[in-house]
């Protein structure tokens, strides 16, 4: 510890040695292709800490020492330019060339360091603002679909408000955390998915089935995509080891937009749109009483006399075409010393089912303050409020989730209401609820207030031609309160079934993440300029405290929603305090004329979640890349070969080390009995070791850029749950063991078909293939999800793919019947511009990957599937012979994720319509998920009954159907 203080205090010695003599250099930065001013370009005086940014008109003024200097000018989307300015010169205009593949962009390599993309030794994917906001999306994750090679991003359900799983590079764990680490402006924010306890209504977790079917939202959904400047995705251990034992699923590093010096620049986006359901399953059409009697017996006789009427009870539930709107307003400006970015968002997404929808409001203030020449202060704060109305869906055991009610409800019953009162909805004589009534009167609201605040203090005591030293101290807070209100009135058909009509659920979860991060970065360039060495050291403290409380009140008097009025109340609280402390260091050397990059680094980390809380676990990494310029004789072409190796961990889940007792009361007496799960007092993190290699080439005179990456990773010390003999009284015992391997290939390619001032056409493609294999398992093969072998279950078994699905064959053998991992994914994006018109579209193709389709099974089982005569009957017959195969279905899909047609209004029109103040105006028409082609027969090939899952996500049980949306947008700059 002492040496750290020494380090800091040595830094102090360098203070106050700045050259006194100064002069100003001013100029304008423009783009080579269109001659337009570039705002936000940075102009640095090489060898000093002097830095300026261009204003909205592309103009800059930078203070420089006397004598000849070198300026380095950099802007996002443009190639870096270095120019010499003589001692007498006071102006220097700069023309930057477009950098279509962002080869000159700085990409993160550590907590406080970065290198240019062209030298990068890892396959880090950067998604920029313009790629995020092309077509509006409900929540941020949707905007990433199809844009990151190596990522499989799937919507768990169509319920408004989010719930999307981002999986990077396939299976990386079985029981530990499955979500990537989300870092926003340097701090780790919560991506928790906290259940709303809809289970109090659905009883999905009863009957021996796993819980976690409440369709939770992972909280990354709160972020406002419009605030984001760029997202960098570290996919595996080789890139992410500096983030330690929270980074096994990759790291998503989000940087928000910064202010630019100059007069206030306003930007406003107004969007209006609608969404509608993509696909619903319908029920069987019964011709006459003979058909109906064969299924429903005498009960059908009152309906079919002898011809059966037909009522489509399903479509009316999902037939809303709600209006959605979004208003984004931001302003950016400031002086050389102070820059600000302020934004606001008001958004409303309608839901396709009655009573559903999503509202969000957000405000952000980002401030950058120069404190003298060596100190900087950055301050980011955001307040977010969201309110989602998510309806009721997914598995149940109470006859309440619509797609578990419809399979039992024949189409000759009319469930449609005769009026708007609760009693105007007919009783469903064939199942316990009328979904139309349920959706009209059951409320399932999630109300989230969240505050993110980060402050970074930077200090650069040394900035000379040969060495720089920079310290940054970051403190951050992420605090949210999630309130869940579920209200099911006593008059609903199913409510009296438990003898306690009326249910109210009041959930409140408070989470606070506190981050403290200190970094020191020292760069050294020897006089020979043979290399540049960057040394960084840091310490990170992370404190998380999650407090989940949930009250369920039952038996309510009519009209009462207050939990006080319930005659029975169940209370549940879960506390999860976590503390992590890490130290890390990294050395990067860029040499051989900036062709060779060598990196080594390591992080030591301890966490309260480990059995031994004192032990620092070490996560090392090493990487190298070498660039062969002027490949094939063409000046712009080059080839880079790279290799990277690293380790990360996956921390034990909170509580893995404890052996909790089961508690309860009986007759008012408290009791404590043995819990079913035995913890492991010596639990330690899982360890992922990844080796990644690749080649990046720029060819065809710089028009083609290809990144090819292959990786192999092994995860050892898996957190496993052993099933002891149940006669021990325990159902599970936690321990570390086993090994899992993942391998994959990722390709990202971009091609400039043409680029002239009037026409441009860019094509981007990504390809992803991952496979996994369980190498060692010190326990017998076990199932991690599903509803037992007969209904298809994900089974972890040595020598098999980690995502294999097993089922029964007709002989009663347990056989593999599918695999959740796709064969490959391919996305293709086209961006075309012609004069003022722009057209872009993104196709997302997943080939292979199976889903267990239990929604169809239920329709078949109750002989009520729409295709009963042509398909359902045969499937059911096979199932009753014991075969699982008919319901494990290929979930390949081709989706048109995004399509946008835009038009930049000519200046005259802008002037006419909006007056003088508006500089630019663009109108666009965009759609999301406009086309879906799939052979999958369930509701949607992306859905997941159990939400985010390491392995067992592909299970379709009565989901909320996803929707597609179309928006009209107008963007104004003024």
């Amino acid at each position: 510890m002492a040496h750290r203080i020494v380090l800091v205090c040595v830094g102090l010695v360098f203070g106050g040695t700045l050259a006194a003599q100064q002069r100003a250099i001013a100029g304008k930065v423009t783009g080579s292709l269109d001659g337009k001013a570039i705002a936000g370009a940075s102009v640095a005086v090489v060898g000093t800490a002097r830095l300026a940014a261009t204003n909205g008109s592309g103009e800059y003024t930078v203070l420089a020492p006397a004598g000849p200097v070198t300026l380095s000018v950099r802007a996002v989307g443009y190639k870096r330019k270095v120019l010499n300015v003589s001692g007498e010169q006071t102006t220097a205009d700069v023309v930057l060339e477009a950098d279509i593949f962002n080869l000159d962009a700085i990409v993160v390599t550590g907590q406080a360091t970065g290198v240019e993309q062209r030298n990068l030794a890892n396959a880090v994917t950067t998604v920029r603002a313009e790629d995020l906001n092309r077509a509006p999306t409900g929540t941020l994750e949707g905007a990433l679909q199809g844009k990151i090679p190596g990522a499989l991003i799937q919507e768990n359900s169509g319920a408004p408000g989010g719930g999307v799983q981002i999986n990077l590079r396939g299976v990386s764990t079985i029981n530990a955390s499955v979500d990537p680490l989300i870092v926003v402006d340097g701090i780790i924010i919560s991506n928790d998915a906290i259940g709303n306890n809809l289970n109090a209504i659905t009883a999905a977790a009863a009957g021996g089935n796993a819980s976690n079917q409440d369709n939770p939202v992972n909280r990354i959904a709160d972020l406002n995509p419009a605030d984001i400047d760029k997202i960098e995705v570290l996919k595996g251990a080789s890139a992410a080891s500096i983030y330690g034992a929270q980074a096994a699923n990759g790291v998503i590093i989000i940087s928000t937009r910064r202010g630019q010096a100059g007069a206030p620049q306003f930007r406003m986006t107004q969007r209006l749109g609608e969404s509608h359901v993509i696909h619903v399953l319908k029920s069987r059409v019964f011709r006459d009483s003979v058909e109906a009697d064969s299924v429903y017996g005498t009960k059908a006789q009152t309906y079919c006399r002898p011809t059966c009427p037909y009522f489509d009870n399903i479509s009316p539930l999902w037939d809303r075409h709600p209006l959605s709107s979004e208003t984004d307003l931001s302003v950016s400006g400031g002086s050389d010393q102070t820059r600000y970015f302020v934004s606001g968002l008001v958004k409303r997404d309608g839901g396709i089912a009655p009573g559903t929808g999503y509202d969000k409001q957000a405000a952000r203030v980002n401030l950058d303050q120069q404190l003298g020449s060596r100190w900087t202060l950055n301050f980011q704060t955001q307040a977010i409020h969201s309110l989602s109305h998510r309806g009721i869906s997914n598995n149940d055991n109470s006859g309440t989730s619509p797609y578990l009610v419809f399979p039992l409800t024949p189409s000759f019953v009319d469930l449609r209401p005769t009026g708007s009162r609760i009693s105007d909805y007919p009783v469903n004589p064939f199942e316990r609820s009328n979904p139309l009534q349920t959706y009209a009167f059951l409320r399932n609201d999630e109300d989230v207030w969240r505050i993110l605040a980060t402050a970074t203090l930077g200090w650069q005591p040394v900035a000379t031609d040969r060495q720089t030293l920079r310290f940054t101290f970051t403190g951050g807070l992420d605090n949210f309160t999630q309130r869940n209100d579920i209200f099911s009135p006593p008059e609903l058909q199913f409510e009296p079934n438990d003898g306690q009509p009326g249910t109210v659920v009041l959930g409140k979860t408070q989470n606070t993440n506190v981050n403290a991060l200190g970094n020191a970065v020292y760069t050294l360039t020897p006089a020979s300029r043979a290399y540049r060495a960057t040394t960084s050291l840091g310490v990170q403290y992370f404190d998380k405290s999650l407090n989940f409380t949930n009250l369920v009140g039952r038996n309510l008097p009519p009209g009462q929603i207050n939990i006080d009025q319930a005659t029975s109340i169940a209370v549940n609280q879960d506390l999860q305090p976590i503390r992590d402390l890490a130290i890390f260091g990294q050395e990067e050397v860029l040499g051989l004329d900036e062709r060779l990059l060598l990196t080594v680094g390591a992080r030591g980390e301890r966490t309260s979640r480990n059995g031994n809380v004192k032990r620092f676990f070490l996560y090392p990494k090493a990487a190298a890349s070498y660039r062969f310029p002027a490949l094939g004789g063409s000046a712009g072409d080059e080839l880079k070969l790279r290799a990277a190796w690293g380790q990360t961990g996956n921390q034990p889940n909170f509580g893995n080390k404890f052996t909790p007792s089961a508690t309860g009361t009986i007759g008012g007496l408290f009791g404590s009995s043995a819990g079913f799960t035995a913890g492991a007092a010596n639990i330690r993190p899982e360890r992922q070791t990844e080796l990644e290699g690749g080649a990046d080439a720029t060819l065809a005179n710089g028009r083609l850029n290809v990144n090819l990456t292959g990786y192999t990773r092994t995860v050892s010390d898996l957190i496993l749950v052993q099933t002891p003999a149940p006669s021990s009284g325990r159902a599970a015992s936690v321990f570390n063991g086993g090994r899992l391997r993942g391998r994959g290939i990722e390709v990202a390619a971009g091609y400039v078909v043409t680029q002239t001032p009037t026409v441009s056409w860019l094509v981007h493609a990504t390809f992803t293939k991952t496979t996994s294999k369980v190498l060692a398992l010190p326990v017998p093969a076990f199932q991690v999800g599903g509803f037992g072998t007969s209904l298809g279950a994900f089974q972890v078994e040595v020598g098999k793919s980690a995502t294999q699905i097993v089922g029964n064959d007709s002989l009663g053998n347990v056989v593999q019947v599918g695999d959740g991992t796709p064969d490959f994914q391919l996305s293709l994006a086209n961006d075309l511009t012609y004069r003022r018109f722009g057209l872009s579209f993104l196709w997302d193709w997943k080939h292979g990957g199976d889903v267990i389709n239990l929604t169809e099974l239920l329709f078949d089982l109750f002989r009520n599937s729409e295709d009963w005569a042509t398909g359902g009957r045969q499937r059911r017959a096979l199932f009753f012979k014991g075969e699982t195969q008919p319901y494990v279905q290929d979930a390949s899909y081709l989706k048109l994720r995004e399509a946008t047609l835009s038009y930049h209004l000519p200046a005259s029109a802008v002037h006419q319509m909006f007056g003088d103040r508006v500089r630019n105006a663009t109108v666009s028409l965009s759609g999301r998920n406009l086309i879906r082609i799939t052979k999958f027969r369930g509701i949607d090939p992306e859905v997941s009954n159990f939400g985010n899952q390491a392995i067992a996500r592909n299970i379709d049980v009565a989901p909320f159907p996803p929707s597609r949306s179309i928006f009209f947008s107008i963007d104004l700059d003024f």
Binding site: G15, Y296, L404, P496, Q500, T789
Partner: protein, 451 residues
Amino acid sequence: MKATTCLLALAALGVWACDFNITDPNSPGPIGTDPSRADVADHVIGVILAARSDAADWNLDAGILGREAYRFDGSDPRFISEFLNGPLDPGGGAFGGDHWIEEYNAILSANQLLDVIGTATRLTAAEQNGTRGVVETLKAYEFVMVLMGHAEDSIPVDVDLPIGAPPAPLVSNDSAFTFVSSLLDAADAHLAAGGTALPFTLPAGFTGFADVAGYRKFNRALKAAVEVYRGSLGCGAPCYTTAKGLLESGATFIDTSATANLAAGVYFDYSTNPGDAPNPLFQNPQTGENFVNPRIKDSAETKPTTGLDDRFTSKTVPRPITTTENLTSDVGWIRYPATTAQIPFIKNEELILLRAEANNALALPVLAANDVNYIRVTSGGLAPIAGLAAQTQAQILGAILHERMYSLLYEGHRWFDLRRTGRLGPYLKDRATDAVFPTLPIPLDEVLARK
């Protein structure tokens, strides 16, 4: 500025010193040595809670398997497909593989307390013995529950083992019953050395049995039941004689006096209070998924006055006819008419019929017939069976089982009664394709853990 920097460095030092030793904030851990009186009380109640966790579920599942009940559950077809049609899946914890781990978890809870009770310095020796007797009796009851559901001669008994130890050896059902019988005797001996009052309060369901003397009557009643079960499973006269002795000696709470309460006994309580559980067998009898198997109605006798057996009419209620998968019922359950309805461990009415069974087996038909007719008249409002004592032993056993069916309806007995008396058979099938299962399979996890 320098001061600021050094402050930051000190802050980093402060973080370094942070306590990372976070104890479980959500739940107590296992009971330790030298437990306090409150710890002991909590863990005694814990054993009762653990035992309760499967009581209702067993009554429903055994009710379906023993053709007392149906469950037409739209969300889970297995109550029909698996329990009536089969095969019973040893892998699914909720169906074929059920009624095992909950019982063994209660046994584990009991063992954890028994392992440390001797170190409880804050209890007197008598109080320690009283606690032992109470907990051992509950543990024995849980073994009986395991044995009622499983007849494959593969019962682990010596299960008080540390985590990670090889699983306990399997013994035959016969040996396990012998073990249970001895365990009940050991418990009784501990209770006998337990003074007068127990060092904890028992729930309302133990009213009348909550002191040492009362609890011993519960213990001896269980012992009598176990001996009758053993008698029918092959032990024969010796076990029946033991049972008869217990039931005629005043050791139990059997009562056929004028003031007798047939419902007197020991019960699990339920409530909707926080932390408690409502009785899950309570449902709206008109709309709930649980139905009465119509054969219960079909075989109910008519009273001399009018109407069916009081036991049938007080425990069931007509409901609209419902057909699912070619199964039909128009009778709903009101056996547990509220969320707070209690589920019995054992009650006076059962003891009387156990005595009848023991006497009949010991060729004392008059005594047996007296008890059968007493139950028929007192509990069912039926006429006595004239000349019952003159019937064959098998016929009298049939009559006893018939009375047990109505006296212990939906209490988890019928399936086991039919099995232990060899009366399971195809006649119980509701549909030609159905199967009648003699036992639940040993759960797959139990089998796998031994490979």
